[in-house]
Symmetry: C2
Subunit: 421 residues, 2 copies
């Protein structure tokens, strides 16, 4: 990695994959087919795209129990402990409905209600991550969502990753279907004979899944469309090059388009990290992916001051930010834009990916300027409550009618005045 | 209005306008032009679409002061009082950042930060509503957003509605530009020489504005795309036909596609309301619009029981719901899906449109199943905070590394293990 002097206005935005015209047309056709033909379309498309001849869509209790038995006790215990931590962090986000009253007897407030049902998409193949199941399901569970449906494509030989099934069972998924791709999104959005529609679809997927989610948005809610992963490390001379390098590589191994950035006030650290990255890269099983990512999207910046480094980070709005400095809490207070902030030497990013409790579904590509990690609010909605008292009504009705007339809406004014008779 | 017996599974969803291919292409071209040519494109497009030769984009202090002087003291006082109520309701929604600690010294939490900047689109012409300015700006203000930019197309003779300018000034808008349409959305999303880009764009607009917002989504955040207005009234025999009819018509006058529904347990009320709607319709200045809406999207249902009526309302998930029954609070407790809930005789919907405090930007077309009224959370975002202690790290590092290896992510495991040396 080359070392650059930090200048104002750095940006590491990558273009977002928005699909070709052909892909969009294919997705629209799949959505229409599932809407028209229901289950029959799901069987046919699963045969066509996954090469699997399903005899049923729903995964049975028996299959789930077999998955649990197929995992080691050690792994099951780790998944359970991670689930406990994630559940506990998300339950702390719960809010109550509230009402405020005034002397006239008027009551105003917000009623907070969980969504009725949520669908979680889980990719198949090598990207079948049990941690992703926990992170997408448990916030919905904490929010009070009663029906949580998981869909995931079957492997070539049929069946679903045991670790994914186990995680779904531990997280409290209520239904699991062996179907993937745009057809699974269509089933969740519109419903079929077997799969009842849901109110929101979350979870990562390939370009077809992303396009399908965009297309059904409005009929159902969706989460954000995630881009490739990013890590920024903000460090001073107290950081240890070997550790910083390992953290940068932990993101780089995800994807050739992953982005790893170090911003530091110490040239010595910058040089140490550059050397360590090169050394550790050679020892990684996923070296090819990580090397491509580091070469294209890896950057090391040396900043003149901590203030300058902080303002560069705010400009980046990174998905993951590690702060490894003398006083990380004080630095954190000045960070305005970041998905998740990891403080100090022992908060290596994988601590948050798997175990600590906060969500690993995070805003990428600079969207931390306006988006949040997946959280309980994403699975609840609010209704306003307005109970105007007779006293308040009489005191304010003329003003309300006058405001309506200022906007030329006479029927609004009359709805008020008819009550004054 | 005809009276129907309530059956299961009523739905009043209307198709959402998604634009023609031509409109989409025109919008893409406008976005590109503004991106490439900046201010020059804004001047040119304003001349082409609004027929106005602007000499500057920004509205001056002087123009704002003239607007304030152009409004009556009475109207100014009403707008100020409404703004005070809206501000107060939205400030009650504010949340603090929080951190939880455990015995090992680990700290986890959420840092809550307002967006840096927000753009508010305000339509021109007859749809220039000062109440809409208050409702879109004040939640951002309450959230702590520092920079709030308003854009609105100039009228044919140049200039902007004085009531809109006054509302913007009272609500605390920091910059106002005389530009509308897709070109205004482009300026807000990408920036020009004069207009700096924002992080989120909110506010209603015509189909070009809606398409442009959809297109820039991802580069900036947007609010929901609102459909035509809806009201549902849930009433028993205590309701007064004249009042219910007036409320149904207050929505119908908005738009020929507006939807007004009464669900009642009383056939007598149903008949009274049907007669009153006909009578009042004939006296309305916007009769033509209201009549078209009532004929196409007005429905009266008689339900066998209050329970049946409640479950029909939950199926509808209406934008506005009035509950006019003996014990509206108890009914409200069973409502799961509605944008805003108005309780009792004196909570006529226009009370909430203008004055009470809760927002009038609400989820339409059944999206109250998963969406909320515009609120303070829409203008803030969260960052996760993770400060793992040395003790917690040592106790859990083996489990975290094992979880990473279960997912085949070796570099993740090594980022943990390098810290155990």
């Amino acid at each position: 990695m080359e070392i650059e002097q930090l200048m104002e206005g750095i940006s590491l935005k990558r273009s977002v994959e928005s699909g070709t015209e052909e892909q969009r047309a294919a997705v629209k056709e799949i959505l229409l087919k599932v809407r028209n033909e229901g289950d029959a379309a799901l069987y046919e498309l699963t045969k066509r795209f996954d090469g699997v001849d399903l005899h049923s869509l729903r995964i049975t209790e028996k299959e789930i129990n077999e998955a649990l038995q197929g995992l080691s006790d050690e792994h099951l215990a780790i998944i359970r402990e991670a689930a406990k931590n994630i559940k506990s962090f998300h339950e702390k986000q719960l809010r109550n409905s509230w009402i405020s009253t005034d002397e006239s007897g008027t009551m105003l407030g917000q009623k907070i209600t969980p969504l009725d049902s949520v669908g979680v998409y889980v990719p198949g193949g090598t990207a079948a991550y049990p941690s992703s199941v926990l992170m997408n399901v448990l916030p919905a569970k904490a929010a009070g969502v009663k029906r949580i449906v998981m869909v995931t494509p079957p492997a070539k030989e049929g069946g679903i990753s045991p670790a994914v099934l186990a995680a779904a069972n531990i997280a409290g998924v209520t239904e699991i279907y062996s179907v993937g791709g745009a057809q699974a999104v269509a089933a969740l959005a519109y419903g079929t004979e077997t799969i009842e529609r849901v109110d929101k679809i979350v979870g990562p997927g390939n370009i077809y899944v992303a396009l399908a989610k965009r297309e059904v948005f409005g009929d159902v809610d969706i989460d954000m469309i995630a881009g490739p992963s990013e890590i920024a490390v903000l460090a001073d001379d107290t950081a240890i090059p070997e550790e910083v390098a390992a953290d940068l590589l932990s993101q780089a191994e995800h994807d050739t388009r992953a982005c790893s950035v170090l911003v530091t006030t110490s040239r010595e650290l910058a040089e140490g990290v550059a050397a360590e990255v090169e050394k550790q890269l050679g020892e990684l099983p996923r070296e090819e992916i990580a090397r491509a990512a580091i070469e294209k999207f890896g950057r090391i910046f040396v900043a003149d001051s901590l203030e300058g480094a902080i303002s560069a980070i705010n400009e980046l709005a990174p998905e993951h930010l590690e702060i490894i400095t003398r006083d990380p809490m004080n630095v954190m207070a000045k960070i305005r834009h970041a998905g998740a902030i990891f403080l100090g030497r022992y908060s290596s990013e994988p601590v948050g990916d798997y175990f600590a409790g906060p969500n690993h579904v995070l805003p990428t590509n600079g969207t931390a300027r306006f988006s949040s990690p997946l959280n309980v609010d994403d699975f609840q909605k609010k209704s306003s409550i307005i109970m105007y008292s007779e006293e308040a009504f009489k005191a304010n009705s003329e003003k309300i009618a006058a405001f309506a007339r200022l906007e030329g809406l006479e029927a609004h004014a009359r709805a008020i005045e008819v009550r004054r008779k």
